[in-house]
Assembly symmetry: C2
Amino acid sequence: MKSVTMEDVARAAGVSRALVSLAYRNAPGVSVKTRERIFRTGRELNYQPNRIAASLASKSQTSIGVFLSDLHNDLFADIFDGLRQGLGDESRHLVLAVGSIDGQRDNAALDTLVQSRVDLIVAAGLLLADHDLATYTSTTPLVSTARVVPGADNVFTNNLSGARQATEHLIGLGHQRIVFLANPRSDGYLERGMGYRQAMGEAGLETWEIASSYARHEAEADIGAVLRSSHRPTAVFAHNDRSALGVLDAARHYGLSVPEDLSVVGYDNSSASRLPGLELTTVDIHARQLGELSAHAALTRLAEPTDALQSISIDPTLLVRGTSSHPATGRK
Amino acid sequence: MKSVTMEDVARAAGVSRALVSLAYRNAPGVSVKTRERIFRTGRELNYQPNRIAASLASKSQTSIGVFLSDLHNDLFADIFDGLRQGLGDESRHLVLAVGSIDGQRDNAALDTLVQSRVDLIVAAGLLLADHDLATYTSTTPLVSTARVVPGADNVFTNNLSGARQATEHLIGLGHQRIVFLANPRSDGYLERGMGYRQAMGEAGLETWEIASSYARHEAEADIGAVLRSSHRPTAVFAHNDRSALGVLDAARHYGLSVPEDLSVVGYDNSSASRLPGLELTTVDIHARQLGELSAHAALTRLAEPTDALQSISIDPTLLVRGTSSHPATGRK
DNA sequence: ATGAAAGCGCTAACAT
DNA sequence: ATGTTAGCGCTTTCAT
């Protein structure tokens, strides 16, 4: 499959390569007539410009690398949509790399981006430690979203506030034994736990944290252990919607009704929170907006490489839906 | 951000570029001592090989393009996982491109892959018409999965069989007014409807098809219209799990219990089918396996470019879960 | 408006 | 085992 080169088109159209190059980039300096002829022959030959060669020759300002942590969480699909939109759609070439739920692939994914010499990386949901990220930020400008990374432009929702809102909501409802089903401890994701602890502390309640992972079935197992005890919690605040689903699974397994016997609050407002007939009370991190703002941050950084790093934070919104109510009574 | 080149490493290590190149590709012909020295200085300089330059210089056998239709449907995340695994993980460079739920971006996405001169494209869930795909198959080898494309290697589940199984399941339960909530008509996705019609025909039942889209809320609206009528269907077979969710939404909206008043069957066995407390009866297309088989097909094609096109089909599995039962009585 | 020529950072064939 | 050299298909001055 020998592909058609710019040279082929140039020869067929009877012009130089330079003109074909200009034409295909919509650059000025090509007469209308010539431009048309070039496109016509290009189409006849089914010519597709070679991006590889193009980016080698032109040193940069052409591609943006996008890292998405986990395709199974459609939070990242929302962020991606916002990003695409904010970038003005067609414009730039996006080079994608995807990690995995446990963060094991983050390094490899970022490496491919660097090796593809993207001009900038927009990363959503990085799980790597701040320290491991330093190598990248020193090489390629990084815009991190949904996670704060030192040395990068950051776009995120205020997790401290979100966790406080969620916890205070449960406290306000009258709950006292409120478990926080925590995400794995890693740099940049500590604030949800902090918000929970602050709210509990201020209300004079004892904290009760259970470590868990990002996987639904592990959340189910982790919370299940305490749900069957007589002194079980009356409410669970899960670090994200997916693990909240695991909590709901466990509740069913032990015959507890939600929200009558157990209130459950999630986090993210991903599509997982909207089940037919059972809508999860959750905290909206405004994922799509995060994507859009990341796009703007990226564009700004590209335009002004030496500007000071910026940090854009937006406020989360508590969405009270069907899985939270007064303890015992079941009243909302 | 001037990046470190192979030349820099060569100079610093006191060798030629060729040796550095060989070393980084783990090619034979470099003494152990030299290789070590090269890597050491490479690490010191924080050198990352330039993939762009590498693939320009070496014509091919290095990268595989991956097209995913829609990040919001985690069916594609499953396929992607299987693909990665089947490809042997680290080995090849994957270039990703993502479409959109309505297929509008399919062309642009495929174009970027071609322009990145990938050696082969693995596409999951293409929505483009057969005709529009011809341009691509003539340029780059294509392995299509979850969709049959003429001129490509195909890996898919037998949709005719899956739809028959689903429909026969409902008929066997005693349903007569069974609606098929259809996907948008497009090449390569006609067999689910066919399977439904065959099964209905053989049972002497009248078909009742309602056109819909891939979006949950549209499915809700489309089916909602008939759910409030007195002569409403007793069962709905939705073309995929996401639209089945829309059907469940509509059922709730009109106060119908599932499965007592309405049986619902989905398709795909995506994570959307597993709600806490309400597990969708669905047809498992074995998405992950689809991905793995696509990987093998891709590797085979790359190894034997002139072999005849292959078509690999696997059998779907009906998963009877909680949303289907006898009509009216509610018995399973 | 158009063309000629020098790279971009690698790989690959050929020398040594 | 190691070095030299010629491209890969473009973009980008610089001429004309």
